[in-house]
């Protein structure tokens, strides 16, 4: 690997080679079924979560997935419901990729990646019935809960969608709302000091993301470098009954059916592992 051309006795060391010819550098590893960071092709990075460490939020989760870290915090506030849906509360998910997490992101309004991830998660909430919005009703036509779900990325190293979704589901599962009463005469909502009520999730969809390198290598849980080198990313979202809630292939090269089917089993296994991690972490609280 170190020698590119023997004739000129021109020698490149591994780091320089990786910078100059990143794709060739990856190919040399992938033909041996291993990735430069030491992972097998279908191996996900080590994931860990920490629940309810932020006291100012009603529910929170700090997630680390390799060198990607995100913090998800949920603030619950009270608002008037929509006129056409007097019993339904609101869920407002936003993902922020601020310039703190990588030099890729600039200060100012959210970039395309952040917008598209927020949008995909919002759609998932609207279409997959994760939460029964009627349960967020405090008093019909008068007051409902608004859950502001904010995910802040603090260190970016690829695969932000999986990280964001898992942190949101974990934070929602640990959400504790105060007991509230609506006082009609004054039109205000009073809350108890203690937060005790948790919210039931109808389903827990989690995702697994892969990228396709050189049309044939499937890399699970890509880091930033792998994301940049690959042309296609594939995301599978499965719920706890192993039912598919979403699949997305964002642009890139055409793929064969077999290649996509190849990922599904590993995706089910991954999402199950994440669910187990969440359950065991919650037990230890």
């Amino acid at each position: 690997m170190a020698e590119v051309s023997n004739k000129d006795s021109f020698v490149l060391d591994a780091n320089t080679f990786a910078k100059l010819h990143p794709k060739e550098f990856y190919r040399k590893f992938l033909t041996n079924n291993i990735r430069p960071d030491g992972r097998l092709l279908k191996k996900f990075r080590k994931t860990s979560i920490n629940l309810n460490s932020i006291k100012s939020a009603e529910g929170s989760c700090v997630l680390k997935m390799g060198k990607t870290s995100v913090v998800c915090g949920i603030k619950a506030e009270v608002a008037e419901p929509r006129v056409d849906d007097p019993r339904k509360g609101y869920i407002v998910p936003n993902v922020e990729l601020s310039p703190i997490c990588s030099s890729l992101f600039k200060p100012g309004p959210p970039g395309e990646l952040a917008q598209s991830i927020s949008e995909r998660i919002d759609k998932l909430f609207k279409q997959c019935k994760i939460i029964d919005l009627d349960k967020l009703c405090i008093s019909e036509k008068n007051a409902v809960w608004v859950l502001y779900v904010d995910v802040i990325c603090i260190s970016y190293d690829g695969n932000i969608f999986d990280a964001a979704l898992f942190s949101i589901i974990s934070a929602l599962k640990n959400l504790k709302l105060p007991e509230v009463t609506f006082i009609e005469e004054e039109g205000k909502v009073e809350a108890s000091e203690e937060k005790t009520i948790s919210l039931e999730l109808l389903s827990t969809p989690l995702s697994a993301t892969y990228v396709v390198f050189d049309k044939k290598y499937i890399l699970a849980d890509p880091n930033e470098e792998e994301e940049n080198l690959s042309s296609t990313s594939l995301t599978f979202i499965y719920n706890e009954q192993h039912k598919l809630c979403g699949i997305s292939k964002l642009g890139g090269i055409p793929l064969s059916k077999e290649l996509i089917q190849d990922c599904t089993e590993s995706a089910i296994e991954r999402t199950d592992n994440l669910r187990q991690l969440l359950d065991s972490t919650m037990k230890n609280l």
Binding site: N94, I152, D157, E193
Partner: protein, 253 residues
């Protein structure tokens, strides 16, 4: 209305908390409600090098204050003006879930003010003449807020470590301490409830080895003598914070 984000209802409020009817069994003889002594600062934990892609970074925790800071640079300045000195750019932000009331993504006036204060606190400390035509970008996010002035002081301490982690040349580390005046006593490191009860805020940033003050901020009602006294008390606090910072830097290598 921000079209580039997912928006909720136009107006939403925090529910009103019921006043607890139980009498508070706090002893009234103490000056502070949280039973800390007046010159007590919350125990500090700092960890450098937490953000992979940043040149330097640090995480700061002191009980309920949690701050993360990333430093990018020195990198080429985007401003077209040629300068023979480097510039510092700072962005200070409260995470939406960090405060009692949710704060939006767009920086408000207070956050902008704090960004400027941080820039000023570091101008005398960084050897900017070594970094011509480049800018040093400092991004700070408060993940949990328990006392706004204390957060600002914590951010400055945290940034010092992050700048050191980035290998940026400085004359000295900058440590910062905050204080408030409760019943005529100067109390260090006030938390959120103490801050609500009083209306005086004091914050000082200091270079402990050079024994120089880089920034002082004093707002609200405070007697002149008290302010002078506060400077002395905060300098002592900065010296003890410095030992924590030293430990953190020595252990990280």
């Amino acid at each position: 209305m921000d079209k580039r984000r997912i928006n909720g209802p136009e107006i939403s409020v925090k529910p009103i908390e019921k006043k607890s009817t139980q009498p508070k069994n706090n002893k009234d003889d103490g000056i502070r409600k949280n039973n800390r002594s007046v010159d007590n600062i919350r125990p500090i934990f700092i960890k450098p090098n937490v953000i992979k892609k940043a040149n330097g970074s640090a995480y700061y925790e002191a009980e309920n204050i949690k701050i993360i800071c990333g430093v990018y640079g020195p990198r080429s300045s985007k401003r077209s003006m040629v300068s023979d000195e480097g510039t510092i750019y700072c962005e200070f932000k409260f995470a939406p879930f960090s405060c009692n009331k949710r704060c939006g993504y767009i920086r408000n006036a207070q956050e902008r003010e704090y960004s400027l204060i941080i820039q000023q606190a570091f101008l005398p400390a960084i050897r900017l003449n070594l970094y011509p035509k480049s800018s040093i970008d400092i991004y700070v996010t408060v993940l949990e807020n328990d006392g706004t002035t204390a957060c600002l002081a914590a951010a400055i301490t945290c940034i010092s470590i992050a700048l050191t982690d980035a290998g940026i040349q400085m004359y000295d580390l900058v440590a910062a301490a905050s204080a408030t005046c409760i019943k005529g006593n100067i109390c260090l490191d006030p938390d959120a409830s103490e801050e609500n009860d009083t209306n005086s805020k004091f914050m000082l940033s200091y270079m402990p080895s050079l024994k120089q003050v880089t920034h002082v901020l004093c707002t609200g009602k405070m007697e002149a003598e008290q302010s002078i006294e506060a400077i002395g008390i905060c300098i002592d606090a900065c010296n003890s914070i410095k030992t924590v910072m030293d430990h953190c830097l020595i252990n990280s290598h």
